[in-house]
Structure formats: structure tokens, C-alpha cells
């Protein structure tokens, strides 16, 4: 019970201190809107292209929302030593890292709502399988957050967290089938696509929104869940190795 009081209050503190700050809320709104507008204008094929663009915009909104926030906040707290306070609290490391990542997961999932709400006004989304979209968004948020955690544990400065995040994020835009089908990539890049968790999340969304997934959805769910677990375990091991010397 005591550990859960700590768990819940870490989430609340992060929400208040970071995620619900006006600049982050406005960034969380503007960023997905900008992506939606950019790809909508670029496709030039009118409102009927929205369902095919929506999975990519959802995925990218979640990816950028989660990785930016978590990598920066954890690095910031590590830098000013307030993270030590959490490490010294009588709460297991696993629960502590889950608490630290939960805020980013909620923030990322909330980011996904922005393009969905916009698309609802512009296109017919009656054929979308929402019960598949919701867990997919959640898993993309979890995988992206744990990627952010992996980045945060690998760097020591806040600016390094930003640049190292981009090292992963920008290639993912092109390699994970968000807007460009993986089949159209050069053959030497294709294996790289399948090493990235977002590929499987985006494939689920493509299947759920306009029925154009390239792999069975069950396999997609299995693989992205596997990525989540692996990234979390690697990050935990790194925290144990690097921060508790």
C-alpha cells in the first residue's frame, strides 16, 4: 500500500510539474496539428487521403510527445540530483521507473487524440476499428516512452537527450511505414524497419483505420509488446548499472 502511495504521487507530481504545464499542452496540440496539415497538403489528394494518413500522424504524435518529455525530464532530474531522492525512497526500482514513465505514456496517448479528433471533422471514420486503435496507441506510447527512458539513461545532459532522441526519431518517420510503405524502401533498409518497434504499432493502426496492414495484427501486438518489455528491462539494467554505482 505504501509503495502505491509513492507510485501514484510520483505520477501526480510529474503531471503537475511537467506534463500539464501550458507550454507542453500547447506543444502537444500544435505538434500533431502541424504534422496533420503538412502531410494532408503534401498528399494533395483531398479529404479522401485522411484515413491513409491518420495512422502515421497518430504514431508520430505519440512518438514525439513521449520521447521528448521523458528523456528531458528524467535527464533534468538526474542532473539536479532530485532523481536521487526517488532512488533513496523505499519503493522498488521497477515500480519507480513505471511511475516515472506513466505520466509520459498518458501524455503521449493524449497527443494521439488530437489528430483523431481533427480527422473526425474532416473524414468518415465509421469503418475504423477503435477497439484495435486504442490498445495500439497505448502500446506505441509505452514503447516510445521506454525508448525515451533508454535515451535518458544513456546520456547525462539535457541537450544530449534531445539530440540522441532525434537520432532515433527522425529515421523512424521514414523507416517505420508511417507515411511511406515499407515495401517501397530500398532493399537494404527493409531489415532496419523490422528492428524498430514503431513499425509494428503503425502496421496495427494501418490495419485498424483503413485495413492495409502488412502483417497479422496478432503478430504485430506480440512484437511491439516484446519491444516494450525488452526496452524496459534494458533501461532498468542500465539504471542499476549506471546510477547505482
Amino acid at each position: 500500500m505504501r509503495q502505491w502511495i509513492a507510485f501514484w504521487n510520483i505520477i501526480l507530481k510529474d503531471m503537475r510539474a511537467y506534463y500539464l504545464k501550458p507550454p507542453n499542452i500547447s506543444w502537444g496540440l500544435i505538434f500533431p496539428v502541424a504534422w496533420t496539415g503538412m502531410f494532408f497538403i503534401k498528399s494533395g489528394s483531398g479529404k479522401e487521403s485522411i484515413p491513409s494518413l491518420l495512422p502515421g500522424v497518430i504514431a508520430i504524435s505519440v512518438l514525439f510527445g513521449t520521447t521528448s518529455m521523458l528523456a528531458v525530464t528524467v535527464t533534468f532530474e538526474k542532473k539536479n540530483r532530485s532523481f536521487e531522492r526517488l532512488l533513496l525512497a523505499p519503493i522498488s526500482l521497477e515500480l519507480l521507473m513505471l511511475a516515472k514513465t506513466s505520466g509520459a505514456i498518458f501524455f503521449g496517448a493524449a497527443n494521439a487524440l488530437v489528430p483523431v479528433i481533427l480527422a473526425m471533422f474532416l473524414a468518415d471514420l465509421s469503418q475504423v476499428a477503435w477497439m484495435t486503435v486504442l490498445p495500439a496507441v497505448f502500446l506505441i506510447a509505452v514503447a516510445s516512452t521506454f525508448l525515451g527512458l533508454f535515451i535518458a539513461v544513456s546520456v547525462s545532459e539535457v541537450f544530449e537527450a534531445q539530440t540522441f532522441s532525434n537520432f532515433f526519431r527522425f529515421p523512424m518517420i521514414f523507416l517505420c511505414g508511417l507515411f511511406f510503405p515499407i515495401d517501397s524502401l530500398p532493399i537494404f533498409l527493409k531489415p532496419l524497419s523490422y528492428l524498430l518497434p514503431l513499425t509494428y504499432g503503425a502496421d496495427i493502426l494501418h490495419g485498424a483505420v483503413h485495413g492495409k496492414n502488412i502483417m497479422p495484427l496478432g503478430l504485430d501486438f506480440l512484437l511491439i509488446t516484446g519491444f516494450c518489455i525488452a526496452l524496459f528491462c534494458i533501461s532498468l539494467r542500465n539504471v542499476n548499472r549506471k546510477w547505482i554505482v
Binding site: I5, R85, L87, L88, A89
Partner: protein, 333 residues
């Protein structure tokens, strides 16, 4: 090691045996052994890089020992420090609360980390703000506090969950004199109220004033652990005098030593000597002798023996050199 658990006065809340830690090839802590008894204020003194913070980090769970054992509150937490973290309050050498939260919210959050229910933590945070003289600043953001206020709130956060043992790492380093004095008073009050305190400091006079027992650590090794009273006893029986004059101390020391065989004479600086004797020092005779050598005596004053003398004798480290080194880092209390 003392473990007389039947007598609560002598129950060791911290027991450390053969504790060692290396960073690459550098030995930071080398097979140290000590215990901290319930209710005592235990000082851990040493210069920069002696291994004080590494020891605290190992005791609290921020560093893993290479060998040795740690027991806190009777729990073996060498491998798993989480077992005993609910018993500890930790105040690091730099304030590490959340700059974007208010003082009150910081305290409430720290209480929540120890599982304190909401009602209880609201009351406790209010009480501590009052005790530490921060009630009016309670709703201000921690980031806007002065260094002294930050340190006070960090100590308040360290005791918010009524810990069995409070680790204070250099609590008065880097803050103004008035705040340092207030913090020393707060530490003394906490100790008087029954809190067991493990205090690291490089201010000898602070340790002398506050601590009951002291361990001296140098280059990762504990060179002596003793009560302040026992440490001071040999020097308190001595008579010490500082004499300043207008000549080179080196030239005069030899002459003085051959003339006054029952006293020990040490040059302190170019024109200053320190005289130690088992009997009262004959200041007049000394001054006359120095003046007969052609130097003018400008000052002769009796010194009260202090822990500083003991520290210098045991560790061979000049206290001023240690202070200067630390203050370059940012302290000036």
C-alpha cells in the same frame, strides 16, 4: 563491534564491518568498521576525497559496496538497501528538492514517497515548515529560495517520515554564517529530541560542538573512532600558548628548545610559535628570552585546546588547508 541490543541506549542502529569500495583502481573506502548507537550524534570527519560521501552512498543505497557488511536497524542491507530505506532520512550535500514545486508541496511529495497518507502528510508538512521557520515561504517555489532556506527545507524533507537515522552530508557547507548557525541549532534540537544522526562535515568546530562520538576518515580508512570527551582529554590537560614576534621562528625555536627543555615548541608561521607544556607556561620568561635574541614579542596568548589539535595530530592534515580546499568548491560558513 558493539551490539548490546538488550540496552536500547547502546543498540547500534548502524553497523558497518570491513566495508570497501573501489572506483577503477582507486580505493575510495578501505575496510572501514564503525557503529552508530541509537540516539547518538555520530560525526564522520575527513578532508575532501577521504571517502565520506562514498560511505554515505553505500549506507543509503546509492552505491554498492565491493565487500563488507552493512546493517541498519538490525536489517542486513548489504545486498538490498531497499529493505532499510524506510528507516533512513537522507540530506545530501546539495539541496535536491524540486525547484518547480513550492516548499509545502515538496515536503508533501517527500512524505508520499515514504507512503504517508494524505491527511498525515499535510499536517506534518505544516508542522515542519513552522519548526524550520519557513512557514511564510511555504507557498513559494523552492527554486526561488535562498541557499540557507533550501538547506533547511532539505533537512525538513529528510525527517518528514520520522526516520530512525538521519544522514546529514555536509549540512552547513556553502551557506551564510547566520543560516549555518540556525542549522546547527536545528541539528542539536533534533538530536535532543531523540533522532539518531550521522553527520559528515569538514568543520572541526561544528563536529566538536554537536557530536558525541567521532570517526576520523583519511584516504578511505578510519584512523580513529572515539567520543569527543575522550579525544579532548589528553590535550585538555596541556597548557598551550601562541607567541608572535618580529623574527624568523626557525631561528628562535632551536634556541628556545635548548633553554626551555620542559616544553614542546612548534613553529606555526614565519613569526609565530606554538608552545605546549604539561605545566603552566612561563610566558614572561619566554618573552624575555625571545627579546634577548633581538626579536620584539608582539603577542602571547593562551589557547584552549580543541578537537582541531587532535585532528591535526591524528591525520597530519592542516585544518585550514582542508577548509580552503572545500570552500573553493563553494562553502563559506
Amino acid at each position: 563491534m558493539e551490539t548490546g541490543k538488550s540496552d536500547s541506549e547502546h543498540f547500534s542502529i548502524v553497523e558497518v564491518a570491513e566495508l570497501s569500495k573501489k572506483f577503477d583502481k582507486m580505493t575510495a573506502v578501505d575496510k572501514i568498521c564503525f557503529n552508530v548507537r541509537q540516539g547518538e550524534l555520530f560525526g564522520f570527519l575527513g578532508p575532501n576525497g577521504a571517502g565520506k560521501t562514498t560511505t554515505i552512498n553505500m549506507l543509503t543505497g546509492l552505491a554498492r559496496p565491493d565487500s563488507g557488511t552493512i546493517r541498519i536497524g538490525g536489517l542486513d542491507c548489504t545486498e538490498n538497501p531497499k529493505k532499510a530505506q524506510h528507516l533512513m532520512g537522507i540530506v545530501p550535500d546539495e539541496s535536491n528538492l524540486y525547484p518547480e514545486l513550492s516548499g509545502f508541496d515538496n515536503l508533501c511529495f517527500c512524505a508520499a514517497l515514504y507512503g504517508m497518507p494524505k491527511k498525515e502528510r499535510l499536517v506534518r508538512a505544516g508542522e515542519l515548515l513552522e519548526t524550520f521557520g519557513l512557514k511564510e515561504a511555504g507557498n513559494r517555489k523552492f527554486g526561488g529560495y535562498s541557499k540557507g532556506m533550501k538547506r533547511k527545507l532539505t533537512i525538513a524533507a529528510g525527517i518528514i517520515h520520522y526516520p530512525k537515522i538521519l544522514f546529514l552530508d555536509e549540512p552547513t557547507t556553502g551557506i551564510d554564517v547566520a543560516s549555518a548557525r540556525q542549522i546547527r541549532q536545528l541539528i542539536a534540537d533534533l538530536h535532543r529530541d531523540g533522532t539518531t544522526i550521522f553527520l559528515t562535515t569538514h568543520y572541526i568546530e561544528e563536529a566538536e560542538r554537536l557530536c558525541g562520538r567521532i570517526a576520523f576518515i583519511v584516504k578511505g580508512r578510519i584512523v580513529q573512532t572515539e567520543t569527543v570527551a575522550n579525544l579532548l582529554q589528553p590535550v585538555q590537560e596541556k597548557h598551550i600558548m601562541l607567541i608572535s614576534f618580529s623574527a624568523s621562528a626557525k631561528d628562535i625555536v632551536k634556541e628556545l628548545a635548548s633553554e626551555f627543555r620542559d616544553i614542546q615548541i612548534y613553529p606555526v608561521s614565519a613569526g609565530q610559535i606554538r608552545v605546549e607544556s604539561e605545566k603552566p607556561v612561563r610566558a614572561g620568561a619566554l618573552a624575555r628570552f625571545i627579546e634577548d635574541q633581538g626579536a620584539e614579542v608582539t603577542e602571547a596568548r593562551k589557547l584552549n585546546p580543541s578537537l582541531e589539535d587532535i585532528f591535526v595530530r591524528i591525520t597530519g592534515i592542516e585544518v585550514n588547508a582542508m577548509k580552503n580546499e572545500k570552500e573553493k568548491k563553494g562553502g563559506n560558513s
